[in-house]
Symmetry: C2
């Protein structure tokens, strides 16, 4: 057995969701797009459903269709990409709620599924998804007559609470939704943390549930242990890996572990990634290759059977720093080759 | 329908394998680890088997087990990680050939499966997998008495044919395998291109089969088309995406497409990624987010229904340059959310 073992603590995840739910002024959804941020949408969604979540967000209708099979009828499933050409059967048959992003989508939805629930996504300045103020003005009365399930927008800078964009988007969202009597939603995880002004009737945490920043108090959710294939001694001056990118500065012992960028350990992490044996942190030696990583274990007093790349002592955001990215990408990059073990839920 | 469509040209892949086979002095294997470099090991391996490949390499025994189900009995399947604890049943029952990396693995193999085929992996300077010269010296006679199927090593710098490491590894491999009468293998794709000195009895191309450098003459294998969710006009000065990272320098039209780093489009590509509409190349606007990318389509004369991110005009190595990585990682990062369509095979 030489694949890495990715352990996903569904109890920690449920605790994170409950904590974010307790902070939220209204109801709290869960965002489970991109296969539950790489951790397995079905297991994640069932665990969060047991924790009390009844509103789930996915990116595309295909994800909603799979989620409906998992959750049965007792959950609302919202689709951020709205009602795309070809989505009608999935939306209709599986009772998905498309978040309508444009007048084109509005027309498609009303013509294809005139009595089917929908939500509205508004653009408040991110210019990514949702209706512009002028567009919304043009269809607002028609849309409201059809009783949308939810009106939402998305924050561009909520991971940075001091960014002036947050207040601008809040003001724009208020202006666009004033007087509405349907539920509203603006806050992602960062929005939840910015306080009740941002919460409205439904919050939509994603990354915080999975243990990532900006929710600094989140319980870690993932642990990744990778088996050692073999250990070897190098004389000072010998090199390791592709392009000879590591040169031993002293007599060195190298462990080769069985994971690499083919498992989603982003190649750019390079030697900034640490491999942990108990509390001892061992630096990576040489380039991360597709299936293998060399680790300098010279300072350990034994040859480890496995090394830990993710856990309480090295979080997804530490790996993100090493790769020059964000914790979200560390999660969604997690590869299919790992054995996934679920705790609790 | 709002997922990207990844089209995999199995005929192009088979043509690449045949061309590398024609260059090889001896027989030619195919490396199909990491789910066939992200393209689907089962489909890839069946197509290459039909093209004539009978030797396949995987990283771990679990991959070998799946491949055996796909290929049936008429193929040799070699496992680079060798014989790990827990692998014995898979290796024995499914007729896998572990590439033994160390004396520990040799003992494990001979004790658990005394009459079962195996190969030997030698370290010729990469210090990643395989026996060191002293280790090999110690077990060589015992190992040769047991008739290994293959003796191999791996090149650290073959993507750079002028690197002096190549000749050093070749000399080391020759010295360690002189007089052996079992088949030998040293060359990956780069090794095939460096000519017959590196070929021995079996070559092992991987990336070249999938259309990547260093095989510059490879036929492109993958095409990626991503649907447009909506298009919008921005006034000069408006911003797009997380962190407001794009500011419109002029009145601008933005298309939001339905893919992101959650699909393996590495976030570091950022605005260096191009989205193609026919021959027109449109720059990405703002950060790549998990499920969405903004594209500046101001210079197009129409709103496209989809944009192409990979194809003959933008290769995996172009995306790799944009991300500061290598084509191999672009392939293995390909996400599960795409619809995969196979041509030919």
């Amino acid at each position: 057995m030489s694949t890495g073992i990715l352990t996903i603590d569904l109890d920690a995840m449920a605790a994170n969701w409950r904590a974010l739910d307790a902070m939220s002024a209204g109801q709290t959804a869960a965002v489970v797009k991109a296969d539950g941020y790489g951790l397995g949408a079905a297991r994640v969604a069932r665990a969060l459903h047991r924790a009390g979540a009844r509103h789930f967000f996915v990116a595309v209708a295909e994800e909603g269709a799979e989620l409906r099979e998992t959750l049965g009828r007792e959950a609302q499933i919202y689709v951020f990409s709205g009602h795309m050409a070809g989505d009608t059967d999935m939306i209709g048959d599986l009772d998905l709620v498309p978040m309508i992003n444009s007048i084109d989508q509005m027309i498609r939805h009303v013509e294809a599924l005139p009595d089917h629930p929908f939500g509205i996504q508004l653009d408040t300045g991110m210019n990514r998804l949702g209706m512009e103020p002028e567009e919304w003005e043009a269809v607002r009365d028609i849309a409201l007559d059809l009783s949308p399930q939810l009106v939402m927008s998305h924050l561009a800078c909520a991971d940075d609470p001091d960014h002036p964009m947050n207040a601008q988007q809040l003001a724009a969202f208020r202006a666009m939704t004033e007087g509405l009597d349907c539920p509203r939603s603006l806050a992602n995880t960062g929005g939840v943390l910015m306080g009740p002004d941002y919460h409205f009737e439904l919050t939509r945490p994603g990354i915080g549930v999975y243990g990532g920043l900006p929710y600094a108090d989140a319980a870690p959710v993932v642990t990744l242990d990778v088996p050692v294939i073999q250990c070897r001694d190098l004389a000072a001056g010998e090199t390791v890996g592709y392009g000879n990118s590591f040169t031993a500065a002293r007599d060195t012992r190298i462990a080769t572990i069985s994971a690499g960028y083919g498992d989603g350990l982003i190649r750019a992490m390079g030697p900034r990634l640490l491999a942990l044996s108990g509390e001892a942190a061992c630096p990576v030696a040489g380039r991360i290759s597709m299936d293998l990583i060399g680790v300098d274990i010279t300072d350990l007093d034994h040859d480890p059977k496995s090394l830990r790349l993710l856990g309480a002592d090295q979080l997804i955001d530490d790996l993100a720093d090493a790769a020059g990215t964000i914790g979200y990408e560390i999660l969604t990059a997690m590869g299919a080759r790992y054995v996934r073990r679920y705790i609790g839920g």
